[in-house]
Symmetry: C2
């Protein structure tokens, strides 16, 4: 196991009605905040009203930044930074999923930075401080509620990049599974795929002596496989929503990654798809993952796939190891397409080969390769994309 | 899943040589501390020197309280409180396992309390504040390095009680697996049993819809089963020591308990054994656990045992459910006695029936019963103790 620091101090209020604790926590840090959210859905489902009336209980003033995009853009960040400065705000509260929370994080850091916020996205080392960040989660997916990470896009440059620093960890997050009842089937499925992909990125790593972390990863995968389809079929199943929501936080807050390796493979490729086509992140991940798995399966990697197939899919461990591995990959693909009803290939999302060369190079972030579980150069990436067509 | 708050802000430095970070963290909170430890082993294995020389780097002054007992006593706590007051100390650093850390926690709380520290053990609600607490862990067992809990004994009254509050959560803990290389076989085994028992106490609970938590519990159990014997056989196996150490923290810091139920069964019974006979806590737990399992196995509980047997011990799920359950219990007992070489019964620890009536009543803490996975009254408890003889 590698050396690491684990430092996840986000205070989580989990369960029905936990919104009642929000402003009592915020007031410990801030009394004039920026309220960051996306479309109008939180106004329809009552979450907006619940937040606002709770803020009023502790006389917390707020300015709003609405309309944050599903793949949040640097323009929204810049707008938020400006609003905070002009109005002298001292905290940022996101209501929503990863998009709103990620946007809030970079706004909070941007306020403390002398320069354009895109610098902080390009290089996380520039983030030295941030306003206190709070979140009210409305979809189980990115885990942004309990980690430092944020992904921001600059569509004008077809760039979608991840950033984050200790100061962008939320202080407090409210996780009420009932708030996800109104998440449509499509996004429930994509969110589940996103949680699973975070888990895969941690699970398939070269440091196999992080045994505990591997078993924890399997715990999360089994939970997603069990409850993803239930939540899609029955959106108001509390048990399913609760288990998915809590899984989203643990898939990416460091529990699985720390001590293992943290070099991701599928996310950087998907980020190119989203940057060029603005598709739903989880859909892209679900489509790419089985093709990435099949592409990297080899004598060197087969044992990890056997571990995955036996422990997660309960495949008979006495079968031939490549049989187990291929079966596990088939089951993964079948789960995404048939149990979660996510499109099976890129063509269904109207994506063709046009930008594959460009994407394959950009996915390597200037390194010439992705140093993931198996090193991928642009040629490899292009082949995976073509297989996923 | 039940509502809960998850708030575990302990900063963990995990891995080889992490002691280098200790004083740089302490200095953020304290510059005159109480150093709490047990016997002389940390002087022999070099950990004491490593700590002291690191403290000097940041000019942190310290006063020592050594000789903390394996089941730490209230007298040591009182002595520590007095030392802090007389010397005007502003932090408490434990070096050791659960005993030293638990003692440090109640000292830290005692300094902030006007009255006898035993009040804080009898009733955790009296803990309103504490000095900052730090730990350098030297054995994987209690998880005290990353939770609020402390167990303190008053041998004069045969009482061993648990306490804790948000303020008794360590600020920083150093987890260097190499520091556990010198833990003798017997205590490596008992520590592993302790981690497993914490996990069982959380795993066997009436709220079966905390599915993620159950799968996480299985992850920890599998890790202990895999690495406990390896660490006993080969004390300097880093991989085994690291996995056990990190498991100890997660078995009891809330990850498994929050959202499920938290009513424990075997610990309160074992605490009576330790209170009357001062035995090693983990030994008592390992002896009692299989007997508790067998005693509570019934038509009502069998499904949970099947889950345990299939998921943790890989028992064929097509067998009859009571066959699976009994096999799982047999394997558990066999693991403790044959793989970890822990005494099989209480007689081997020179315990007889003399105090069983008294213990059975005291284990219920005045409630007339233990409200665990299955409710146990003093009659039930006595039967379990007799079975364990």
């Amino acid at each position: 196991m590698y050396n690491f620091t684990f430092d996840v101090s986000t205070k989580i209020f989990f369960g029905k009605g936990q919104i009642k604790n929000l402003s009592g926590e915020i007031i410990k840090y801030s009394n004039r905040i920026l309220l960051v959210y996306g479309g109008g859905s939180i106004k329809k489902n009552g979450i907006y009203n619940a937040v606002v009336s709770n803020l009023k209980e502790n006389n917390i003033e707020f300015i709003e930044l609405s309309g944050v995009e599903p793949n949040p853009r640097i323009e929204s960040v810049r707008k938020g930074v400006e609003l905070c400065r002009v109005n002298n705000l001292d905290g940022v509260l996101a209501i929503g999923g990863g998009s709103s929370i990620d946007c809030a994080k970079v706004i909070a850091a941007g306020v403390k930075y002398n320069g354009d916020a895109w610098d902080l996205v390009k290089n996380r080392k520039f983030i030295k401080d941030a306003l206190p960040i709070f979140s009210v989660l409305t979809i189980a997916a990115t885990g942004s509620e309990m980690d430092v990470n944020a992904v921001i896009s600059d569509i004008s440059r077809n760039e979608k990049l991840g950033t984050g620093a200790p100061s962008t960890l939320p202080k407090v997050s409210i996780l009420d599974p009932e708030y996800t009842y109104s998440v449509p089937k499509k996004h429930t499925a994509a969110g589940t795929a996103d949680i699973m992909s975070h888990t895969f990125e941690n699970y398939f790593n070269v440091n196999n002596d992080a045994y505990l972390q591997s078993r924890m990863a399997e715990a999360i995968l089994k939970t997603c496989i069990h409850y993803g389809p239930i939540a899609c079929q029955n959106p108001e199943n509390y048990e399913a929503r609760a288990n998915l929501m809590w899984s989203s936080s643990w898939a990416i807050n460091g529990l699985l990654a720390k001590g293992a390796t943290q070099d991701w493979s599928v996310h950087p490729i998907e980020h190119e798809l989203s940057a060029f086509y603005d598709i739903t992140h989880g859909d892209g991940l679900a489509i790419l993952t089985p093709h990435w798995m099949r592409y990297i399966l080899s004598e060197d990697t087969v044992d990890k796939f056997v571990e995955y197939g036996v422990n997660v899919w309960n495949i008979d461990k006495n079968l031939d190891k490549f049989t187990i591995a291929n079966k596990a990959i088939d089951l993964t693909q079948d789960f995404f397409t048939n149990s979660l009803n996510i499109p099976k290939n890129l063509r269904e999302l109207d994506i063709d080969e046009e930008y594959f060369d460009q994407m394959s190079v950009k996915a390597t972030k200037g390194n010439g390769r992705i140093n993931g579980y198996v090193t991928l150069n642009p040629d490899d990436i292009k082949k995976i994309l073509i297989n996923a067509l």
